[in-house]
Symmetry: D2
Subunit: 307 residues, 4 copies
């Protein structure tokens, strides 16, 4: 199966169901994938930030790629995060992605070291030359502390294999600048990261979004995407308001910056889909926070209330 | 004249025409105001970041308020930036704004010192109590290094006199969060700062935008606002693309972070409206940069080409 | 009285005793100055960060300059902070400093706007040309969000009137770089800002330090300076440990970033020297925090315990 | 061989000699280790930031540990960086370190994800429990974007196996705070990272420093350490000035933030010790920059001039 160019729609930035520090929740993974396909999403992005990839062993990452591709069985494109500080390990993950049947990879800047735009562009050139699959760039400044400047994206778009950008920076002026620069490249996919910005991004020219929330409520994000495609502003405002409410509640339980990830995994777990074990340095919510997430879900009709 | 609640439309974040470090360009100011009113903007915001307010003497700021109000003569609301590190000086500017006939003031956090949200809220309470005009909050983290958290905005919205928010942070997830929180307050004005985000902000619930570019090309921003109001996506994409082109060219001449301000003042000057002298620590473009701005304007039909 | 070049010793970054938002505590100011002179400090720096200068009206700033100079009566050099976002206001403060008999001024970057090193250097050239007193540069990145790069300091040292640098950045590698660059200029004063770094700075080549803690305990900082001059490491470690204890206790009461300023003013007030009213956006500690500061002072022998 | 507590002296933050992306320069590694032992350093820290660890494959990291331990043959303690975003991989590196005979490991925060102090402390507890060697904490905020707050260091010092801290933050007020907090723990090693701060740190209570520059000029840093131990201020100033000159020249060639690493590897290569191939995203200096580094070394007597 070859990936469409551009790739359109809602791509789930998939959580990684874990049973333990280095053990996948196999049954949970299968249920999650069926939940997402049943919910109508247009692709899966595994081993991204939402998938806690940097916190997982390479063995487990390879296993996740293999099991996901097998379960999906080409019903959807599977896109694999290979972002790594070590070039050799990123290439190795890409080889695994190819071997097990994924359709594309996603690569951000090698974090840890500061690097200039010149260095980042060279890095992307070297990486794409070694990777046997189409490559999406991943602009993720919050976590990598690097930004691919718009001019770097424009140049990188000319590297063979580089087929798109996922922008998680949350800065729509940046995103619009990239959209303008790439007007001559209708095949180059432009996806936006924060789900809170997906609607307006699609209205203004993006091809879709990568949405964490679609792990537990895929229909909402798919419907919002379709409303944006249809330019149905009334429907957009209604659905977008639900998206914002999820962000303001389920993702805001707990005291730490990790509350988004914890809330998300907890919500999926409360639906009975997969366990909410988390990789270090995090751990799943305790019962007090779990109850709060449950109550938010009940309030928003995502879980039935207690009879 | 009382200010409408909410205030809607394109508010020009007006540049301050200067002849020298401490001298207004009087004729330029009059021409600029007529240019803006003729161009259809819905209000003037003077003494903001685009107006170089922090770089101007208090004497000159007072003079600008007086002359602007006189020239406008209530044809439009005049909103005055009073953001200051010193409470007493901010109050004094507000008194001048009232005396000379302005309709509202805009106040950001007192920059320089780090301050907590509790301290910022108290500051706003104290300030609003001393200010004899309606107050817009101004979230301007790039310059003040403070953010009014959404929960702070929600509380500040209950302070008497506080009637709206201008958000210049450029983070649309933040803006949407505020929109959601203030759904019960249809009278509370929500304006977005970066002109590159005005279209989507209005589509998603903002009342308008403060646009620097409207200093030289008011019609473009007014038409974009109207297209957004009308939910005319085709027109929006066309006009938004022109806005992005201005940002990518006229605001990007020169090497420094000040290129937005310099390009803007230079463009107004090239239209023969006012001089482009700048307050310290900046200075107007030299002829090389000025020629580049001119060429960009010619290319975009903002100036006639050389015959 | 002309200022020595280089200026050596402990310069107190003096708090501003206030009775109200726009009223000096006159008697407190007099007592404070006598306390400092009696405590052996080598100069006074008024209207700096510790003096809450950006939060004070210009009227009050001028009054403070006048009263301080009168009370000091040339027993010590008085150095006046003129840092301002507005060039004209900075020059006006410098004129007041000259008129009332101060010996020098201190100028940081005009905060609010981002500015390049080229722009900052030009700013300093223009400013020094208008200022009728010797100028110290003030590197204060935490508050101004600008850094004078070492190469900028080196160039600025050639501007007539520019006689020294106060570095409050807290980065000793930066400070050493400046020390090395200015080895050919033994007349150029190099002072370090954070009192926690004064001892090592003097050991490694600085001429002295500006110490906030010397407002309430001038002897400690003066003795530490003298021990550093004498290279008496045993004495240095003993006194430095007391300095660190003050930082870890009296400056750490309260929840906000302003705890340093609040703790300092509270400590001076507990000694019966001056009131601890604070300029917006802060306010003096309530009784719970005040009791904690008192207890820390008792524990450290700065106040007698209750009998 | 057991590691001394506290560990004292100059520990070389060793570069990783590479022949290619995934190939060690074996002969270079042997020469480098002999050069360092011959130069008198007191320990080797491999796989740190200076060792480009995050950019190396796990296979190569294990090989480096093995070859280094074998070559050193317990003449010096070998300390191994195990910092990783993935807990399982960090533990696996620690197991390799133990197996091949290293004396201790160094662990920083798992970068990529933001984490709170509570989460970091738990992480350290979990990690130390799985690591079969003594652990040094590594405060490296520039690269990890995490800081171990002093109170976290104090608590972590009570975790079994945790024996010291290397602080690379460059903030001496932070370092002094930690020194004060740990006064009751004379066995807990306190090392400072930036070599520009080693002299003053040792004067004020540190046990030593990790110095990158000792890769090419070990004697200088060892002598500076000894002068600091002896409190010989005249000698300290002389040697410290040479250290600062290296920082201002050899580490400042090239345009990017990576100039420190590139200059360091280039200098070692110019001495004929090992190759200067660099891991992605960097590459070795070209001939223009290499000539500049050579000239700086000639000027400073680190290389003979051309006859």
């Amino acid at each position: 199966m070859e990936i469409r160019k551009p790739l359109r729609g809602v791509i789930t930035a998939m959580i990684t169901p874990l049973r333990d520090r280095d053990q996948l929740d196999h049954a949970g993974l299968e249920r999650l994938i069926e939940h997402l396909i049943g919910g109508g999403v247009h692709g899966l992005f595994i081993l991204g930030t939402t998938g806690e990839a940097p916190g997982l062993s390479y063995r487990l990452r390879a296993e996740l790629i293999q099991r996901t591709c097998k379960q999906v069985a080409e019903r959807l494109p599977v896109i694999v995060g290979i972002t790594d500080t070590a070039f050799v390990e990123a290439v190795s993950l890409a080889a695994a992605a190819r071997k097990f049947g994924a359709q594309a990879v996603v690569a951000s800047a090698p974090y840890y070291f500061p690097a200039s735009q010149v260095e980042l562009l060279e890095y992307l050139e070297h990486l794409a030359a070694e990777v046997p699959l189409p490559v999406f760039l991943y602009n993720a400044p919050t976590n990598t502390h690097h930004t691919f400047q718009p001019s770097t994206v424009l140049r990188a778009a000319d590297i063979p294999h580089v087929i798109g950008l996922k922008d998680s920076g949350g800065n729509m002026a940046y995103f619009h600048t990239v959209v303008e620069l790439l007007k001559g490249r209708p095949d180059f996919t432009l996806l936006v990261g924060p789900e809170e910005l997906m609607a307006e991004a699609v209205l203004m020219g993006a091809h879709g979004g990568m949405c964490g929330g679609s792990n537990f409520f895929p229909q909402l994000y798919v419907q919002l995407y379709q409303a944006a495609l249809a330019k149905d502003m009334e429907q957009i405002r209604l659905l977008h308001s639900r998206v914002m409410r999820i962000s303001a509640t389920i993702y805001r339980v707990g005291r730490h910056a990790s509350s988004y990830l914890k809330g998300l995994k907890c919500a999926v777990s409360l639906l009975g889909i997969s366990e909410d074990f988390m990789a270090e340095p995090f751990r799943a919510f305790g019962s007090a926070e779990r109850d709060k997430v449950r109550q938010h879900m009940v309030d928003q009709g995502l879980l039935p209330g207690v009879v």
